[in-house]
């Protein structure tokens, strides 16, 4: 679905001519603009199993991504809107029910009050949501040098690099909706040594993909071999970040597969219906010049 990136200039131009006016009219030139002022970082577009009209999640990849989340990200980042039970979703990581119970039992959640009015801790159940690593935002900031590690439930939909004209027109035509995971993957793989003319603020790291300037408070979280994979996938930073970005896309959009499958049925139905109506209309109007 990333045709626009690979096609030669002349094809892009002719496409632009075809779609430009209509597209610009429809969009009213509006487009998500989240990049901070100044030069926006270039975010490379990756291939994802869930892109395009027939896209679906790869359960193996989501299971690996969950492992990366669990062993690395979860130390600082919450996942507050995701219920543990959803890990069993067939259009998601597709863990077995038994595996989900085991995963749940590894977490402790606060419950209560009990009969004496006290809150107590208990083993999590699949129906619980993932517990947060910090009790509140202040605690999270205090533990992280003043920076707040954002909740990750929606991060794959809450971050997008700015797409200017005419890219945003192509994005509508090619159904590009993977700006979030593209950005997450880029962010996790673009930690670099700062150039000589840049002085990092204390506790900051240099990252060329970060949307709000090049200095980020999150230390590079991944390194080769950090998380053990049992399915033979390469244990590299690139693979980890790819997997965890896919997992976070699922966490943000768990109904993606249902949406695309329903969409295909609805679109086919509408196409046939439009055809029928068109011929009915022609029949009805056949004796009227208009």
């Amino acid at each position: 679905m990333l045709v626009t990136r690979k096609k030669p200039m002349i094809v892009r131009l002719s496409l632009a001519l075809a779609a430009g006016l209509a597209g610009a009219l429809m969009m009213g030139a509006g487009t998500p603009a989240t990049a901070a002022g100044g030069e926006a970082p270039h975010i490379p577009r990756e291939d994802w199993s869930f892109s395009g009209p027939f896209g679906s999640y790869d359960p193996g990849q989501l299971q690996r991504g969950f492992k990366v989340y669990q062993q690395v990200c979860a130390a600082c980042h919450s996942l507050e809107f995701v219920a543990i039970r959803t890990l069993a979703s067939p259009s998601g990581p597709y863990f077995s029910d038994a595996a989900v119970k085991v995963i749940a039992s590894e977490y402790t959640v606060e419950d209560g009050p009990d009969d004496s009015g006290e809150m107590f801790e208990r083993e999590a159940r699949p129906s619980d949501h993932f517990p947060a690593p910090f009790p509140n935002q202040q605690a999270a900031r205090a533990a992280n040098g003043g920076a707040y590690p954002p909740d990750l439930s929606l991060i794959a939909k809450a971050r997008a690099a700015h797409a200017g004209f005419p890219t945003f027109v192509f994005d509508a035509l090619t159904q590009y909706q993977e700006a979030g995971p593209d950005y997450l993957h880029a962010l996790l793989t673009h930690y670099e040594e700062p150039p000589e003319d840049v002085t990092l603020a204390p506790g900051m790291y240099y990252n060329t993909a970060f949307l709000s300037g090049n200095q980020i408070a999150m230390p590079p979280p991944l390194s080769d071999g950090l998380v053990e994979y049992s399915d033979g996938a390469p244990e590299t930073v690139d693979q980890y970040s790819r997997d965890v970005s896919a997992f976070l896309m699922w966490a943000a959009e768990p109904k993606l597969e249902a949406r695309k499958q329903t969409g295909m049925r609805v679109m086919l139905f509408l196409l046939v219906f439009a055809g029928l109506l068109y011929f009915t209309k022609r029949k009805i109007w056949s004796n009227v010049e208009h």
């Binding site: 219920a83 699949p126 129906s127 219906f273 029928l276 009915t280 029949k283 009805i284 004796n287």
Partner: protein, 186 residues
């Protein structure tokens, strides 16, 4: 051109019928999401268990806990109550079925089938009158069990309907003792 529709009436009629039928199917299909959204959602379906610690209860005590938003009566019965319940002949019962979700749906409403398995003094029931959904009052009514203030249904010490408009015995939900004094409902 102008005469086409009158010369081929069957083809035209088929066209109209097919289009109309297609539209009707579409409308019907669209209606379903709008209806189904009112059904219990995924979170409600998943939130189906409640654990209760009953270690502090003494014979003759009752507690009411909340399960799926409904009251559940847990009663630690006295010897007298158990005897009373056991002495009732099945033929005297208004509803001869146990209404116990842990048992087959045709199990008879004996006291053993109403009480916890292997723990005769314990009675766990959804505290909702089977008539129209009020919460009955405990240790009340003609049969020393439960009495519904709304329309006067009386239940005995095994939660079986004995008198009044309610049609069925109080429902025994799915539950189990996970430890000697811990009950998991649902």
């Amino acid at each position: 051109m102008a005469s086409m529709d009158s010369s081929e009436p069957t083809r035209r009629d088929f066209m109209y019928l097919a289009t109309g039928a297609f539209g009707a199917v579409g409308v019907a299909a669209v209606a379903w999401p709008f209806i189904d959204q009112m059904n219990p959602d995924a979170a409600a379906l998943a939130l189906a268990t409640t654990e209760v610690d009953v270690s502090s209860m003494a014979p003759g005590q009752s507690i009411t806990v909340s399960w799926r938003g409904k009251p559940v009566f847990i009663r630690y019965r006295t010897e007298k109550e158990i005897t009373e319940a056991k002495d009732v002949p099945l033929g005297d019962l208004k509803d001869p079925i146990a209404r116990n979700e842990n048992l087959p749906s045709d199990a008879p409403a004996t006291d053993a089938n109403r009480a916890a398995e292997g723990k005769e003094p314990w009675l766990v029931m959804v505290g909702i009158c089977t008539h129209l959904g009020c919460v009955p009052i405990g240790e009340a009514g003609e049969y020393d069990g439960w009495f519904c203030p709304c329309h006067g249904s009386s239940y005995d010490t095994a939660g079986r309907i004995r008198k009044g408009p309610a049609p069925e015995n109080l429902l025994v939900p799915t539950y189990a003792f996970t430890a000697d004094t811990v009950i998991r409902i649902g």
